[in-house]
Symmetry: C2
Amino acid sequence: MLTDFYEMTMSNGYFEYGFTERQAVFDMFFRKIPDEAGFAIFAGLEQLVEYLRNLEFTPDDLAYFREKGQFSEAFLEYLANFKFECDIWSVKEGTPVFPYEPVVIVKGPVIQAQLIETMVLLTINYQSLVATKANRMCRAAQGRPISEFGSRRAQSYDAAILGARAAYIGGCASTACVIADRDYRIPAVGTMAHSWVQLFDSEYEAFEKYARLYPDNCVFLVDTYNVIKSGIPNAIKVFDKILAPQGIRPKAIRIDSGDIAYLSKKARKMLDAAGYEDVKIMATNSLDEYIIRDLIVQGAKVDMFGVGENLITSKSDPVFGGVYKLAAVEKDGKFVPRIKISESIEKITTPCFKNLYRFYNKETGQAIADYVTMRDETVDTSKPITIFDPVATWKKQTLTNVTAECLLTQVFEKGRCVYKLPELEEIKAYCAHQVDTLWDEVKRFEHPHRYYVDLSSELWNNRNILLEEINNIQ
Amino acid sequence: MLTDFYEMTMSNGYFEYGFTERQAVFDMFFRKIPDEAGFAIFAGLEQLVEYLRNLEFTPDDLAYFREKGQFSEAFLEYLANFKFECDIWSVKEGTPVFPYEPVVIVKGPVIQAQLIETMVLLTINYQSLVATKANRMCRAAQGRPISEFGSRRAQSYDAAILGARAAYIGGCASTACVIADRDYRIPAVGTMAHSWVQLFDSEYEAFEKYARLYPDNCVFLVDTYNVIKSGIPNAIKVFDKILAPQGIRPKAIRIDSGDIAYLSKKARKMLDAAGYEDVKIMATNSLDEYIIRDLIVQGAKVDMFGVGENLITSKSDPVFGGVYKLAAVEKDGKFVPRIKISESIEKITTPCFKNLYRFYNKETGQAIADYVTMRDETVDTSKPITIFDPVATWKKQTLTNVTAECLLTQVFEKGRCVYKLPELEEIKAYCAHQVDTLWDEVKRFEHPHRYYVDLSSELWNNRNILLEEINNIQ
């Protein structure tokens, strides 16, 4: 029921015009990578699969539609007995993806493929957004672990939970979100809030009481009053008095305000001088990939980061603009390509039932380009393949010594899930490995090199023929 | 279970140290209005109330905590029998609110008040964000209705649904989201997607088929191929051929790409020339308050707007930074104020158990200033009241002829809800009325006048005494 009203009126229309069996092909793709980055990370497939496996309309839903007075009884009957029958192919979670390539393809009765549009987009858009952002931040941190701390600033409940999941895929080490740990086994971590420190009569007492209770897990928040004059001295005093006699090493201190570069250096010196060289320093406070990078450049002594709102909402660019467009329609048993021209050139779609490949250098494993083909085209890498830019067609490249991997895996076959969902850890590892196959120039934060997404000659020709045809009609 | 892990470790700590009955007062407030606007709209209280009414821990939750090995059995037993016992005061949904004033106050056993932090913030932050943004867009549209169309770009499922609710509070007329209609009775509207137009062999056929099915609800999307050459002529043809003979007036056309100012003027002329002066023009395509305002300034002939991602994510500033801070703690039967100083001046909190008033001009009803007081202070408007800026204290103003309204309503009393939740329509109307009480200068989009939020002398003194005390300790 989380759908746009027009999906229902259109589906009712398709039903009324006898299109219940009429097959259509829809592509999900996106046009722009958030933050003008070089690539995005695809995520959210598991939740999409769960949704589609359980897709049904309850008697309450039907009563609601009946009340609207716009739907035929026969259509409501169809919904009551709804059985999902589509084929779906999708890129795997954790894969780097690029604009204008199909990342999900839905083929099936148009009435069904249309109905699921909103949920396909909603599910993939949000998790891809956060996985992409998390990956940027983790790359900025150069191996230092990042914890996702954004629940309270997430755009509602599911966003907090699924955002934690997506952040983990993108590279984060842990989350503060309890439910993400319970349901997805993403390690939940947590220390203390300022309120813990304030509740006791002194900062020293607050730290002491915490250390007595959680001696093995001491991470003190040192900025409630004054980091240098009070927070760190009190932390060290408690380390000495409570933990040292038990032979327990403290874990870390956390700084949540002020000049992190300056304070962390100063804190490092104080901790080292007191014999706590192994105690880590954690920084939080509206961090993002740029601040993290700058802190490291400035020699800040930060060992771990906690990131909140800038990650969970992808604050600097909070929309992943996936769209879902009709690419082909069955006519007389064959798929006829469909195009949308629109008034804005960047909104023109690529028609046809398609497939998606990625070329890798056979020796280095480096990703070279993506290649969108007709569905039934075979890509034979035993011979040289010439690819060209679909806009600047004179820009050509002949590939030899490459392998081609099909990026689209079948997930549903006639409504039945045929894909074994990988474990989250597996997705996370796959993501890290796939990002490693990209050139550094594509991974750059500012002005990255544009990765090539080319069309096969056959697909390119089909697209041009269709464009010409439609121009002639008008 | 949607909470941060540290809420649990801290609560366990409070429990272990015998603070189960120790009372504390927490304030929710925010420091910055999104988009550097002059005010925000408070929303989300209804969902917070629902959550708190049903707050409990299931055996599965307890098993999860037990497995973590950090919580005492006695604490888990406490959670198993958890009964919410706090008092809560809150601003009403739809109220314009300002930085640094308490919008929610929670008073109760510290162990409980701490536990709900994440959910209080998450719930209020997101809906306030969207209600605030919606209100800006609706003001920009100057009475032209705006539909919320953002589900597919929302940051996950709840965001789509609750975002539609918040947008409605802020002033939107309708939504595309079916479930928001079913559950909150926000009118759901919808027309057709490009896929409907593409599915048929021609644009004309697509419109014709739609008109036959939904003659009373004809809104044609005219930009699939070419607005001027094809979309509008086809729409007019169908109006003439299908609707006119039935005596039905078409509703509207929708333009989703290209230069909306130019296309809408051209479309208006074409529709008028064909005798469809009453047919409305709807514009969609990444609109926000600035584009809407500019379109109107440029004389665009747009009668209604549909807004997607820029509203549902508040794209230009997607975080509502509400925080939840300890303000006072019970000691020997009295509330002792607590402050957080931090390394950043803007993060210093206002201590004490407080109350919040708004002064209105007795004759015009215009809002003059907000006034934060000690909880037990009375505000007597029968005598002149001098208020002053809490930072620039020499800036004073003496108020006469004003009324003072307490903005905080009791919502929970010892864990029992004592507040009758208003209907959504009532909230929406209240919001519109309250926004009307603000000066135009506060409502300006750029560089609005800063609305006064002043502290009473007593509160201001208490705060300063505490600041001095802590400085002396260090």
